[in-house]
Amino acid sequence: MSTANPAIGYPTEGSFEWFDVTTRFFKRMKTDLNMLSCSSSKTLCDFQEQAESMRDSLKDWSDIEGLLSRSSELEELLAIARQAISTEIAERLTVMRDQPFNPEEGEEPLNIESTRSFLLFCLRRGIEHRPIITATPHGLVQADWRGGKSNRVTVRFFPESKVWFSIRTPSLRKTSELPLKEFWESQSLPPFPELE
């Protein structure tokens, strides 16, 4: 679909498409980019020049899933989460990262693979509002969504890209284990209620 109108400075079809894709992954820039695209005083050349400059600095953000998958440090995962998924989710994970644990009792720090799986899940399912987030003594991330007294979804993220999940709604009661990818693609998952 062409939205080109060079005469009044509107972006060409390609530039607008890029704008749409990058704002999905870089929410902080959304306001500035909106101002650029709506500003009738900007010529097309000015817009393209600024857009390309932003695009170069943003190109790494066009593949958030790849970034999450390649990160080797927990800090990287948290930084990506803060920028591209949800500030409140990232902040809660940061708090949990810093909380004490007792290795003598078999407790472990926040598990990076479990954290990665959780963030990939949030990205894939478009989850922005933070659920109840806790961790097992082994450092495995667990997310709980509660909607009233009768809707509950619990997901525990294991390092081997698998999850244990428990779903309780008026129409569905199920507890099982699935590979992470199969779980996030599942059509039978209920909508995730917002944290109350």
Binding site: M96, P100, E107, I133, A135, T136, H138, T175, S176
Partner: protein, 140 residues
């Protein structure tokens, strides 16, 4: 460690939840997750423990015992033994048994889980008991 006698109904136990098992004042099933060294037994402290003096057989005394063994400030939840026994796992009720050691006289264990995905629901029911009781104490 051999299984010992079941705790009497009407008594309470306290389970340490760590700092990461509670969020926004809510305990989740993560606080009741098994560790390999647990051998399918969840550690807890017997509130009305018969191995300590009467003046310590209460929540305050139990909190003191937990404080002594806890290496950092963390949450503890208090559960009724008979409520735990109403939770079914594989068509069998959970149980709470004495498991005292030289180091921890009042140690006990919730038994009946199997470290499989189905435990997630069982652990969730334990968390519900803790949240419904409303007794989540910071031990520090």
């Amino acid at each position: 460690m051999a299984d010992k006698d079941p705790l009497p109904n009407g008594h309470q136990i306290a389970r340490l939840c760590g700092t990461r098992g509670v969020d926004n004042g809510i305990v989740t099933s993560a606080a009741f997750a098994l560790r390999p060294k647990d051998e399918c037994r969840l550690s807890a402290d017997w509130v009305q423990c018969s191995y300590v003096g009467l003046e310590q057989q209460n929540i305050s005394g139990c909190s003191d015992r937990l404080r002594a063994i806890s290496h950092y400030p963390q949450y503890a939840v208090f559960l009724q033994v008979d409520d735990i026994r109403k939770i079914m796992r594989d068509n069998r009720p959970l149980d709470v048994l004495e498991a005292h050691t030289k180091r921890t006289k009042c140690h006990c264990a919730i038994v009946g889980m199997q470290d499989t995905p189905e435990d997630l629901e069982t652990q969730g029911e334990l968390a519900d008991l803790a949240n419904d009781a409303g007794r989540i104490v910071l031990v520090s």
